[in-house]
């Protein structure tokens, strides 16, 4: 009963503290929302993009002559990029020459300069001519210039394909004993152009997401899940240490010594405090799971696997917090413990980089040297729809680590306060 009294008193203290409430509920939801807002811009339902428009400045140096006639490939490329369908992707302006276009990028007035060479039309029409369009880009950008490059490549592949078609047709005619006349190449290129107009390359692909949904059904929600899992683990560990800090507070304020003079044994008092931390984390995790399900529509998985993952997380976080606090002497030292140690171990545990694609494989192994890494793995398995068997190994590791940390912490506290 005395254990419950001590735990209840600590719980009241925690839930009356605005600082604790912010760190328990406000900060994880705020940060997850912030990152969701950031990366949510990349994809919306239907696969359309919500990126800022890429500012493209074009210098059209393309020249025509009597051979090319009125055909102007450079102008066709500009018209293609100015198409209404691309208005959300690129913003086109014109520059009189290459120097001005480059200068616009250097001055950050444009993200990309597109320099169309003087022989562009000739290369598009003449069999043996080649040409390269220059993309001069702001080196800090990747996505916008990538989109422009794709668009220009897509356009130019039409011309290249038509030239290939003409060349292959000429070769086939000559190989098979027929006579190639000058109009043949033009005819083949025309046939190829007609094919391009009537076909869609995208229609040749059936794109699906790893969850099995067709891409049209995929939204940015998928990104919030690992981000929220990372925030949940970080702030549960934070509160584990913060809750255990009450022992140091009471020691400094003298109330702990007074408590030890009561009939309650020292062990009971410490047990009550640890129970308070455990219950705090259970409430925190439950609220965060429910809130994130409501706000971000996260499906955390089946009840049993997610319960196992949360159980492991809470045991490990309680033990970790108790151990950390047992190693410090005063509340003045709690700053670096809370801010420093938890940030570093969280970083190594993969909480800060969770959701970033193509992370080196070694980082996954490093993550599993930290309890946070195991907790994150358990939650991700549950999020992915894993069964209890899939999660149980992580849970067992977390519980074992939690008990180990707890025993170390308890031993240090007992030495300090009891003996």
């Amino acid at each position: 009963m005395r254990i419950m009294d001590v735990a209840f008193k600590d719980l009241k203290r925690v839930f009356r503290s605005p600082f604790a409430l912010i760190m328990m509920f406000g900060a994880p939801l705020l940060l997850a929302g912030l990152l969701y807002f950031a990366f949510g811009g990349l994809a919306r339902g239907g696969g359309s993009f919500n990126l800022a428009r890429t500012r493209v400045v074009i210098a059209n140096l393309d020249e025509t002559n009597s051979v090319t006639g009125s055909f102007k490939a450079g102008e066709m490329l500009i018209t293609f990029l100015q198409d209404e369908g691309l208005v959300d992707l690129v913003e086109i302006t014109m520059a009189p020459d290459e120097t001005s276009a480059r200068s616009a990028v250097d001055q950050q007035q444009a993200d990309v300069a597109l320099i169309i060479p003087s022989n562009f039309t000739r290369a598009a029409l003449t069999p043996e001519q080649e040409a390269s369009v220059l993309l001069y880009q702001d080196p800090t950008l990747t996505i916008g210039p990538g989109i422009v490059k794709d668009l220009v490549n897509h356009f130019m592949d039409g011309f290249s394909g038509a030239k290939i078609s003409a060349r292959v047709t000429n070769a086939a005619i000559q190989k098979n004993g027929a006579t190639a006349d000058p109009s043949l190449a033009e005819w083949a290129a025309g046939q190829y152009a007609a094919y391009l107009e009537s076909s869609s390359h995208a229609a040749a692909l059936h794109v699906v997401s790893p969850s099995g949904e067709s891409v049209q059904g995929v939204s940015s929600l998928a990104m919030i899940e690992p981000i929220m899992a990372g925030m949940l683990v970080f702030f549960v560990f934070f509160m584990g240490a913060n809750g255990a800090e009450s022992i140091i507070h009471e020691d400094e304020e003298g109330t702990l010594a007074r408590l030890f003079t009561t009939p309650a044994s020292a062990l009971m008092i410490l047990a009550g405090k640890f129970l308070g931390v455990f219950v705090t984390l259970v409430i925190q995790a439950a609220v965060l799971l429910a809130a994130s399900s409501l706000i971000f529509h996260i499906a955390w998985g089946k009840p049993l696997p997610v319960s196992l993952a949360i159980l492991g997380l809470i045991v490990a976080a309680t033990g970790f917090g108790v151990m950390l606090m047992s190693m410090i002497k005063s509340t003045r030292q709690t700053g670096p413990i809370l801010g420093g140690v938890l940030t570093i171990t969280g970083m190594l545990g993969g909480l800060m980089t969770n959701g970033i694609p193509n992370i080196p494989e070694v980082m996954d192994k490093v993550a599993l040297t930290m309890p946070q890494g195991w907790a994150l793995q358990a939650l991700k398995l549950s999020l992915a729809g894993g069964s209890a068997q899939a999660v149980i190994l992580s849970t067992l590791v977390l519980v074992a680590l939690g008990i180990l940390f707890f025993v170390i912490g308890l031993t240090l506290f007992r030495r300090r306060f009891i003996s």
Partner: protein, 410 residues
């Protein structure tokens, strides 16, 4: 003079505290290493490993066009095919989700036959299109598929031309000619007539493009400098809060020193702490991580001075509104997370949504990142940091004004 004495006292107090070293130097160095490694390491030159995005290929067809598709994928500048065996094919969802593969292309059985019969089967592409790598991969696969389909069409056009001149051919005669046409067309796509050449702007460093830092550390080093200029405030702001809590601030008022001198003394100390931190991180960035800060030393000096001024004004504000030590930690942590994340210290604002990028640029941290990147990545000169530095200075004055307004000595 009293201001300097106070600042000196604060500096001694901060430097004697081992925690200062942790927040000011150890953590930013560790984070720079960590993020620099994740975002591509230190090499400015062409990496030894293939940097193209890995795309798994499951070939259930085995025909000539499936091989041609693999060849075209191999020729891509963006993606590299990784042929998956049967066992690996069962784990493709996990491999894409874990980022081991950017996508997986499955070539269905009968793909070659159907395509040659002008009844193409669809390729199945497993990809996470909500991520930039997934979008890039998806577009690259679309380009490659377009080239393959174009080659098939070119082969058909050519054989139609032959037939229009020589008359219809029987299937045994027609097939080898079609395959020969196809081989020529696919081979021609190795060197298309019209290409795109990408050149990254090097600004004023045009004469020496090597001076530009485009490694993963260019973003990580400057980003962590900005982030930890805020986190480093914990110990500095704590000094003021403890002085207020212990009554030292009030006792100081009984001495001839004026209130503004007390505040100025603390601000000078905070400024010197952050400025020194930034200076050390710049030197570490230059000589350990290979980020060329010293290409424009005066511009970098101006940036770190104005960043330190803004950080000091933020530190004063935090200490002005905090009553207890834990409030300093909470406010510093929250300020660090918000200013760093929104300002582009963790990831370039380009990858964020339109609204996020716009909001981010209302924060001083985004301008600090702009200033650093103008020098490090864009190769620009001293003039390019005047605007970011000016904005940082304006923010510093604004924060300082609010801090003075909220400051209490009791």
């Amino acid at each position: 003079m009293r201001i300097l004495v106070l600042a000196y006292k604060d500096l001694l107090q901060i430097l004697k505290d081992w925690k200062s070293g942790l927040f000011l130097l150890v953590m930013p160095i560790l984070f720079t290493l960590f993020f620099g490694f994740i975002f591509g390491g230190s090499s400015n030159s062409k990496p030894e490993v293939d940097p193209r995005l890995p795309v798994g290929v499951i070939n259930r067809d085995g025909g000539s066009l499936a091989s041609s598709l693999e060849k075209l994928l191999e020729d891509s500048e963006v993606i590299r095919p990784v042929v998956l065996d049967g066992q690996e094919a069962e784990q493709v969802n996990q491999m894409v989700e874990d980022g081991d593969l950017a996508a997986v292309v499955t070539i269905p059985n009968g793909y070659t036959t159907q395509l040659l019969a002008d009844q193409p089967l669809m390729l199945e592409v497993l990809v996470t299109t909500s991520q930039p790598a997934g979008q890039t991969t998806s577009r690259a696969i679309e380009t490659v598929t377009g080239r393959l389909l174009g080659a098939v069409e070119a082969a058909h056009i050519a054989i139609n031309a032959v037939e229009s001149r020589n008359g219809p051919m029987d299937a045994p005669v027609r097939q080898p000619i079609l395959e020969d046409n196809l081989a020529q067309a696919i081979s021609a796509w190795e060197e298309p007539a019209l290409t795109v050449v990408v050149e990254k702007a090097t600004g004023e460093a045009l004469q020496d493009p090597e001076a530009i830092s485009l490694s993963g550390f260019a973003q990580a080093s400057s980003g962590m400098m900005v982030q930890f200029s805020i986190f480093g405030l914990i110990t500095s702001a704590m000094v003021l809060v403890l002085e207020r809590k212990s009554g030292t601030l009030q006792r100081l008022m009984s001495s001839p020193i004026r209130q503004m001198e007390v505040i100025a003394g603390h601000v000078v100390a905070m400024f010197l702490v952050i400025f020194t931190q930034q200076l050390i991180l710049v030197l570490l960035g230059q000589f350990v991580f290979g980020v060329n800060y010293l290409r424009q030393p005066f511009a970098i000096l101006l940036m770190i001075a104005t960043l330190a001024l803004w950080a000091a004004s933020l530190g004063l504000l935090i200490s002005a509104i905090s009553r207890k030590e834990d409030q300093v930690i909470t406010l510093s942590l929250i300020a660090m997370f918000i200013f760093a994340a929104l300002g582009g210290a963790w990831f370039p604002l380009e990858v964020a949504g339109k609204a996020f990028a716009a909001i981010g640029h209302m924060l001083p941290t985004a301008w600090a990142m702009d200033g650093f990147q103008n020098i490090l990545m864009r190769g620009l000169g001293f003039q390019s940091v005047l605007m970011p530095a000016g904005i940082l200075l304006a923010y510093a004055l604004g924060f300082f004004g609010v801090a003075i307004w909220r400051f209490r000595f009791e």
